[in-house]
């Protein structure tokens, strides 16, 4: 996705004097989730979730609100208990251990910074509870203040801090307890867009420095795709797909994932295999389109849903020579939405409207509304997301 | 968890204990007196406190009923000395609230006026009570506003004084006044006589502003009321010196209910010795005279009469047609019913 990290220069926030990593690097642990189910009344929040999160991984739970991702996170934290199933930290079953006894800490969506304590006391909260020597606490607090770039702010009250600063306090407050797993429950959602991007990169950097496991809950695909080692896409209490950002974007497992991650054109139709083994998708509206079928299970006559990302489509004012690996359709431009470095085109092909995104190039031929155009894409860019 | 619970219970208990100590501190060397309003001058109490180096805790009531209800409801556990009227002495004896009085411990037993003591039927031989004062409710008139009036209970029939008069809010006193006016006994159970009395009171009711046993004295002094039915001391102690000359008090010539208020020691009293000391102190002739001068009512203690300097508002002789209220027993229901019909 070419749309990320364009507004700010990401390196401007990263490259500063690094914190002494050896002081704070900790050991992460793996998280195992076995057959977890949870009902609130008659409502099934989670059904039979299984998940393995590796040591030191930056793992995201991504899904629309109400998909159960936060509930799952709260179970790992120990705030909620599953109805069935178990949670493991490094192969130790922690399902019945209270939150204050798990080596897991949480960063909350709404910061949950204690408003009656100074920045210093907020960060020191966990250590003070453990009755650790004051000098050590002080040293630790300053280390973590530096980690989250709040040097010199330790005497302030939370009401004097900005949202981003509060969230930094919350992060330091969680990390100072040296958890094996850090849980982040939509930590950036209350911040404005610019700040969100900055802090996300910092989080990634912190993760790299201290090396513990991060479990990050979000409904924002940009965030998840940008920093995660792996992502689990959830919907209605189930996991739809687990994979790296690229796998998920390029090879969505189903129509929901395809629609949820980025934008897509979904083409529905039935498969017909011609006598010379050409495979064609006969759509109701766009006519017949040549596609590639790699899955032997898909038989002629099966109904298919195919995903085609808007940026994979080329829009041309004149008819191109179509290669064997490509497919081409003709259409008319209905609407153009200009947004700086790129434009979005809505092109009508027979009855169907296709959504196309094109980055502007120098000297490109200008396409106007109402123009007749040709759409061209590689067949391999079409993903079958559903079939029956 | 358990620790917190225990801590909390301890805190709660401590707080409760704190409250307890507040109340239980006052055990010794304190005499708890429950008396009518204006019945003993503050100075006498102070003198008693200094003479015996004790503290007196002094609370007041405005009617026998109020006092009795309070004692019945649980206040009886705290007081030592109470001043009920005769009928209530009898009630309190029969409900076992009183401690018998040891006559040998009372020095002034023979100083009481036999004219009065002979009338005492509520406690023959004074086994449970010792008389404090004798008197009767009467009528006070403000002569500044009322130049001419007849000295009789019929003054309440004067429509010219409508809304300027009060009757006591006390069933026995008001019905008794009417019964005597009609020539009957204040202790009658005769339904016909009571019905007649009721009609008479209803006639008076049209002219009075309220039934009041509490603030009639203050109201009279402030000029709110011109004619009030009540105890003279309650009125006169409220008056400015300038007003005393223009105030006249009389006992209706046909009589009314009279009372002998006695000192009684409650059964649960923890300071009986102090209570005896107090009774004896009150009846020291000079002390008693001081009280009588303050109240301006006749002395029951014959020895004390020698020291009296102020002429009372009325004399023993004015009470000749008055009758002592007796406990009505079950008959109180009849009175209650009639009184309710008048009052509500």
């Amino acid at each position: 996705m070419s749309t990320y990290f364009i507004i700010t220069d990401p390196f401007s926030t990263i490259v500063k004097e690094p914190v002494n990593i050896y002081d704070i690097s900790m050991l992460g642990s793996s998280v195992g989730i076995k057959n977890i189910s949870k009902n609130f009344g008659h409502f099934k929040v989670l059904s039979d979730i299984n998940l393995e999160i590796k040591k030191g991984e930056f793992f995201s739970l991504l899904g629309p609100s109400g998909c159960g991702k936060t509930t799952l996170l709260r179970m790992i934290a120990g705030f909620d208990k599953p109805d069935t199933g178990s949670i493991f930290l490094d192969d130790r079953n922690v399902t019945d251990i209270a939150s204050n006894k798990r080596k897991v800490n949480t960063v909350f969506q709404n910061y949950a910074v204690f408003p009656h304590l100074t920045v210093f006391d907020n960060i020191a909260f966990g250590l003070k509870l453990k009755k650790i020597d004051k000098k050590i606490i002080q040293k630790e607090v300053f280390t973590f203040l530096e980690l989250v770039k709040l040097n010199g702010q330790e005497r302030k009250m939370p009401s004097q801090l900005s949202g981003g600063q509060k969230q930094r306090v919350a992060i330091a407050r969680a990390l100072i307890n040296k958890p094996q797993v850090l849980l982040l429950d939509e930590p950036l959602s209350a911040l404005d867009a610019k700040l969100r991007k900055e802090l996300l990169i910092e989080l990634d950097q912190i993760h790299n420095e201290i090396g513990i496991t991060f479990i990050y809950v979000t409904h924002d695909q940009e965030e998840a795709l940008g920093v995660s080692d792996r992502i689990a896409i959830m919907k209605d209490g189930k996991i739809n797909q687990i994979g790296t950002s690229k796998e998920i974007y390029e090879k969505p497992a189903d129509a929901f994932v395809a629609g949820f991650i980025g934008e897509t054109n979904l083409l529905k139709g039935s498969l017909s295999i011609t006598e010379n083994k050409e495979t064609k998708l006969i759509t109701e509206k766009a006519g017949s389109i040549n596609i590639l079928i790699n899955n032997p299970k898909i038989k002629s006559g099966a109904s298919l849903t195919v995903s085609l990302r808007p940026e994979k489509i080329n829009i041309l004012p004149i008819e191109p020579t179509v290669k064997i690996t490509h497919e081409c359709l003709q259409g008319q431009v209905k609407e153009i939405v200009y947004s700086g470095f790129q434009s979005r085109y809505f092109v009508k092909t027979k009855q169907n409207i296709m959504n196309i995104i094109k980055v502007h190039e120098a000297n490109e031929t200008r396409i106007r509304r109402g123009d007749k155009v040709f759409l061209e894409w590689e067949k391999s860019d079409m993903n079958i997301v559903e079939f029956s | 968890m358990k620790k917190i619970l225990i801590n909390l219970i301890i805190i709660l208990l401590l707080v409760l204990l704190y409250g307890c100590t507040n109340s239980s501190k006052n055990t010794d060397n304190k005499l708890y007196i429950y008396n009518w309003t204006y019945y003993i001058p503050d100075q006498v109490i102070k003198d008693f406190e200094t003479k015996y180096n004790v503290k007196v805790v002094y609370d007041v009531y405005t009617s026998n009923e109020e006092m009795y209800a309070k004692l019945k409801a649980g206040g009886a556990k705290g007081y030592d000395l109470v001043f009920p009227s005769g009928d209530f002495v009898k009630i309190m004896i029969s409900s076992g609230m009183l401690s018998p009085i040891d006559s040998t411990k009372i020095a002034s037993f023979n100083l009481l006026d036999p004219l009065i003591t002979s009338k005492i039927a509520y406690d023959p031989g004074l086994k449970y009570s010792f008389p404090y004062m004798v008197g009767a409710a009467g009528i006070s008139v403000n002569k500044k506003y009322i130049k001419k009036f007849s000295k009789s209970a019929r003054i309440f029939e004067n429509t010219a004084l409508k809304n300027k008069m009060t009757l006591l809010d006390d069933m026995r006193e008001v019905l008794g006044l009417a019964l005597k006016e009609l020539g009957y006994s204040v202790n009658t159970f005769d339904k016909g006589q009571l019905e007649e009395a009721k009609q008479l009171v209803l006639k008076w009711k049209q002219n009075i502003v309220k039934f009041d046993a509490e603030s009639f004295g203050k109201g009279f002094a402030a000029g709110e009321f011109w004619v009030v039915h009540g105890y003279s001391e309650n009125v006169f102690l409220e008056l400015d010196p300038s007003m005393k000359a223009q105030t006249e008090f009389f006992i209706p010539p046909k009589g009314g209910p009279m009372y002998i208020d006695s000192m009684v020691i409650l059964k649960d009293s923890k300071h009986k010795d102090l209570a005896y000391k107090f009774i004896n102190f009150i009846h020291e002739p000079q002390v008693y005279a001081k009280i009588v001068d303050y109240l301006k009512i006749p002395a029951i203690n014959m020895e004390a009469r020698k020291f009296v300097t102020v002429s009372p508002n009325y004399n023993i002789i004015d009470l000749k047609n008055c009758e002592l209220k007796e406990d009505l027993g079950e008959g109180v229901e009849l009175y209650n019913k009639i009184w309710e019909e008048i009052r509500i």
């Binding site: 934290a77 939150s99 204690f114 | 917190i4 409801a73 649980g74 004295g217 309650n234 102690l237």
Partner: protein, 261 residues
């Protein structure tokens, strides 16, 4: 046109109300400096103030009784009520709504009912009536106010603060002492002041359940209104109003929690 008319109506009502509120207080102030015992104005004098301070031992005894009761019952009510409010706010259980209504009921019942009920209750169990029963009764009617004020504050704050604390290793006692109580403190202080004032002011309940030696200031004032020989009461009233103003100024800081119940 229409607008100004309505404006005049509400403005008039406000002025009338304020006059209505303050006329009696002005009259008390006037009479407290009157040299005569009656209500006819004869001249300026401070003698009633003098008498109040030098010659009213029973009154000051009543004041001290009132203060003892007000302080002790306010603290006890706040202790019980704050814990109760935390319980009602953060935990759910069967019949919670019913329980909540019952806890609030003493606030809504006419005072005389609570007075009579407590009187009969104490008498049924032959509980001696004294300053201690007054203390118990005052706690009873103060608790619902504490609940209201503290719960209003608890409603405002975010449950994740508690989770965050537990997550950082806090035990329940730490959550209570380090998070809940400090954060509720303004409301706790408001509740304390409110209870203190209500207790100082209560007449009806105290009147019914008072026993030997438990004359509080309102009971004493009541007897002064009915009988009692001097306009000291005017001077006393003025001082009470002044004390009220001072207390209210102090309270205005916390009034947010008191008004918004």
């Amino acid at each position: 046109m229409n607008h100004t008319k309505r404006g005049i109506f509400t403005t008039t009502m406000v002025i009338l109300t304020l006059l209505f509120f303050y006329l009696p207080m002005a009259v008390l102030l006037l009479y407290s400096f009157n040299s005569s015992k009656s209500m006819v104005i004869t001249g300026f004098s401070l003698k009633w103030y003098n008498e109040l301070f030098t010659n009213s031992p029973f009154l000051w005894k009543a004041v001290s009784n009132s203060l003892i009761i007000a302080v002790s019952s306010a603290f006890s009510a706040v202790l019980i009520g704050t814990l109760g409010a935390i319980g009602l706010r953060w935990y759910s259980f069967k019949l919670k709504n019913l329980f909540q209504i019952i806890s609030m009921l003493p606030l809504l019942l006419p005072e005389i009912i609570l007075g009579v009920a407590l009187l009969i209750f104490f008498s049924a169990f032959s509980f001696p009536q004294n300053l201690f029963t007054v203390y118990l009764s005052h706690i009873t009617f103060n608790i619902p106010f504490v609940l209201l004020i503290v719960m209003a504050r608890l409603e405002e704050f975010d449950s994740t603060l508690l989770e965050a604390a537990r997550d950082l290793g806090a035990r329940e006692i730490d959550v209570l002492m380090k998070i809940l109580i400090p954060l509720t403190m303004p409301a706790i202080i408001a509740a304390l002041l409110m209870s203190f004032t209500l207790s100082l002011e209560d007449f009806v309940i105290t009147f019914f359940i008072s026993g030997p030696g438990s004359t509080t200031l309102p009971i004493y004032i009541y007897s002064m209104i009915r009988f009692g020989v001097s306009p000291v009461i005017n001077a006393l009233s003025v001082l009470i109003v002044l004390a009220t103003i001072v207390l209210s100024l102090f309270l205005s800081k916390f009034s947010k929690y008191i008004i918004n119940h």
